[in-house]
Amino acid sequence: MAKLSLLWVDTPGLEDLDPALVAKAAGMALDQGGLLEAAVVTTSQEQAPAAVRQRLMGLPVAWLELAAEVGGGPEAHRLARAAVAVSRAAGRAAKGTLPPVYAPQPAQSVLVAGAGYSALAAAWEAAAMGHPVTLATPFDSVDQAGADDDPEAVSLLAAQLPAQVDLAPNSELTRLTGAAGGFNAWLSTNGDAPQTYGAVFLAPSGELVVGCEVDGLDPALCRPVSGLNPEDFAGPEDGWLHVAVLAGTAEAVPSYSFSAAMQAALALAERPKVQVSLLFSEARVAAPGGEKLFRDCREAGVLAVRVGPGKLEVRQGGRELAWADPLLGEELELAPAAIVLAEQATAARPAWLDNDLLVKPWDELVPDNPRLAGGRTSRTGLFITGALRGTSPGEARRDEAASAAAAMHQALTGKVVPMPAVRDNFCASCLTCVRTCPHGVPRYTVDHIQCAPAGCVACGACAAECPAEAIAPPSWGNPEMFSSLEWGLALAPEPKMVLFACAASGMPAVTSLSAQGHQWPAGLVIYPLVCAARMSQLLLLRALEMGAQRVLVAGCHPGNCRSITGNHKAMAKIASLSGELAALGLPTDALEFLPLASNQTRELASAVRAMAQKAGEE
């Protein structure tokens, strides 16, 4: 076994601790600047000075945010906690952390499949950062706008497209495999041969469809907002022409759609002797300028009618509308000469996207998850933008493309991402990793598991599920994690407890509590994870076996996991194990999951306190 040294980097919060004492308590040598075999470093890899990183290149190293794991309290308490934390990390370094498997150079080329404003914005952004871009459009020219686009903005952007954008006209993406740095894309114009791309933007042009209005209207009276020509409308000299604009009567429409309906209502109201009634369940005025438009409509004489969702009745063969007016408490009827219907932007989902074998189900690919805003999907390197995603037409789509492009550029050019190591001789070819990886990284090719070069986020889902211990992102394999747990727990005083803390929620909360001087229980081993997805039943049971009385897993709230279901997976494992604990003579709540956001420090502190209290009572 390599000789372990403690390499002390002074970080805020550690100033008063004596490195020599910590090293001694953890049973290690303190680094004195000589040759190193294996090391534990007291800070994270990113924050370590460049010279330190230089010295440690190629060695088994465990990086450790020591200050966070130590927390506050009297010096003796902190010293003991530091020893536990260092010892925990040393367990990992002692196993000779798997050296990172450096991926082949990620492909730099970018495929943009789609048309209209979103697609052009993506192509423009990717090209501006120097990526070779292929723009595969189903049309024969780039300046073709989607029905929901502003044609002027589209032709302006098309004219600005740099020369390095390679146009593939009349071409559609028909199949896609892989992830960031190594996508295989099949284009209809390329026959059977897939092309390799580093990243893919999917931005089909939008269509406008009428949604959320009532059934049974006389089609002869109806027309969509976009098909309206206000010039066609004028009332008689001696009376009025009534037009109804339905803008979300069955279900409220998004604000961009409501704004378009208001524009139509305003244009109609400015025609002679035309009385417009704008019917809706909610006035969705949140789009820029929406409230002003709403007032302009009213000033022009548009009658604003709020009807309860689904409360609009259709009568007389679809020629008459009736509703209970909530303001007057009586029924009102309107026989309009025309009915204008609000529209929403959508885009047809390509058929290959609905193949759950190749691609995650849509709700897992593009979940309504705050961490995947700005065009991101759960498949690293694949960006879905614009109408297909439901992004409002207009400037929001430009913002989205810019934000996505920066993430894309970083994934393809950033520091080398360690790929998961796959031990082919262990692999049972069960394809569990292919199915479980939330980010689409492992793929089965010919006879082995091949990982995309820039897609892995080290969530550890594959390592947790692989039945053969054959795959794990570097330093997240079972051997390192088990020995790390064992070393940490061995040094921790009774009652021993483990807090597994996800890097997106639990760990930031730990860090800010420690920075505030929070005193953690002496016997608590804090174990940072990239994602709760790494929790396996084996890991949970081993923690108990190694003497932990309680285990708490602090992961994201459902719906907020960057790896989509990492938290659900951990919760499910804990729930199913909890049923077995009684049979082992353990309390049924020995394993717990705490859903947490990074800002919920109070909640974390009180959950740990409760755990310590229960453990202390046993």
Binding site: T11, P12, G13, E46, Q47, A67, E125, A128, M129, E251, A252, P254, S255, E282, A283, R284, V285, A286, P288, G289, G290, E291, K292, R295, P326, L328, G329, D368, N369, P370, R371, A373, G374, A396, R398, D399, E400, A402, S403, A404, A406, H409, Q410, G414, A504, S505, P508, T511, S512, A515, H557, P558, G559, N560, P595, A597, S598, N599, Q600, R602
Partner: protein, 357 residues
Amino acid sequence: MTNAQLDTPVLILGGGVAGLAAAVDLARRGVAATLIEREPRLGGRASQFCCKATEACARCGACRLGELLAQAAQLPQITIYTAALAVAAQPQNDGWQVDLAPQPGGEIGPGAGRPLRERTTLNTQAVILAVGGGAFNPAGKTRFGHGRVQGVFSALELEAMLSQGALGPDGLAPAKVAFIQCVGSRDASLGRLWCSRVCCGYALRMGRVIRKLLPDSEVTFFHMDVQDYGRAWEDELPLMRHQMRFVRAMPGEVTAGDGGPQVTYALAGEQAQKEGFDLVVLSVGLGPPNGASALGELFGAAKDDDGFLTADGGPAGVFVAGAAAGPRSLNESIVHAGLAASAAAVRVASLTEARHG
């Protein structure tokens, strides 16, 4: 005394989510940036916000601040000064020369950012204004009793109370809570004829959190319209209508009653009524940045009709990100910063090319 000198490709003013996201996005593009924050600490408004998850994440975006702070701390291209204010700015051939003055406060702690300690002159090619929007001061609507009637709070105060645990089983436990919407928004009489976009969302989400913390409490939502917040929101809205009481009426006033604040409102067809609550929350909206005119003077930044900053029609090399450019949610501000970062990066690249080629 001569100032310390600093060269940076991009200067970002404001360390809220928009400023941090702009810095991170620039770093992702390989462009270095210096971010200055006027206050002693980073985070802007979101640092006061509570998590609004109940059974699941409510997608309020508040925890994305933690993510951005961690990223900013790790990316070597980003330099951050807190307690730093831009006090003078002159355009120069390739950008701007900006004088920074240290502000009181600011301690060295873990994480991103160090306080500015000395007057510094900074040369930069592009400036991103990410100074945030002003929250409406509820004192501007005296009839709602803020600061006068006990038990009336602004939503900003409620955010802080919830995140500190001051409201809930271990603190204040109101049985009846009212939210009054559109306070300082959709209001021509205040010259604020815009919808603030975020307040329906935060109010209903906080209402739901209160119902979860205090299951016996009753939450009433005085509003005109409920705005949209994405796909999942529309599915949740019918549920929320069961969890809370939706009253479609703007109250006339809030007065001090025996047991707490009283809200006067009128339902259609009914006599106006006074109803007592234990807690009344004013859902204040977002407006133009407080220092908009100062920034206008410093950088000649352009403003739109409502007073929000805009990059359109302003001087070259000045970009705007986040709520400073109009009401925006946290997530929208983060994505919006992406475009400002893109524009700044493109400018820096073209200036560098012009200089070398």
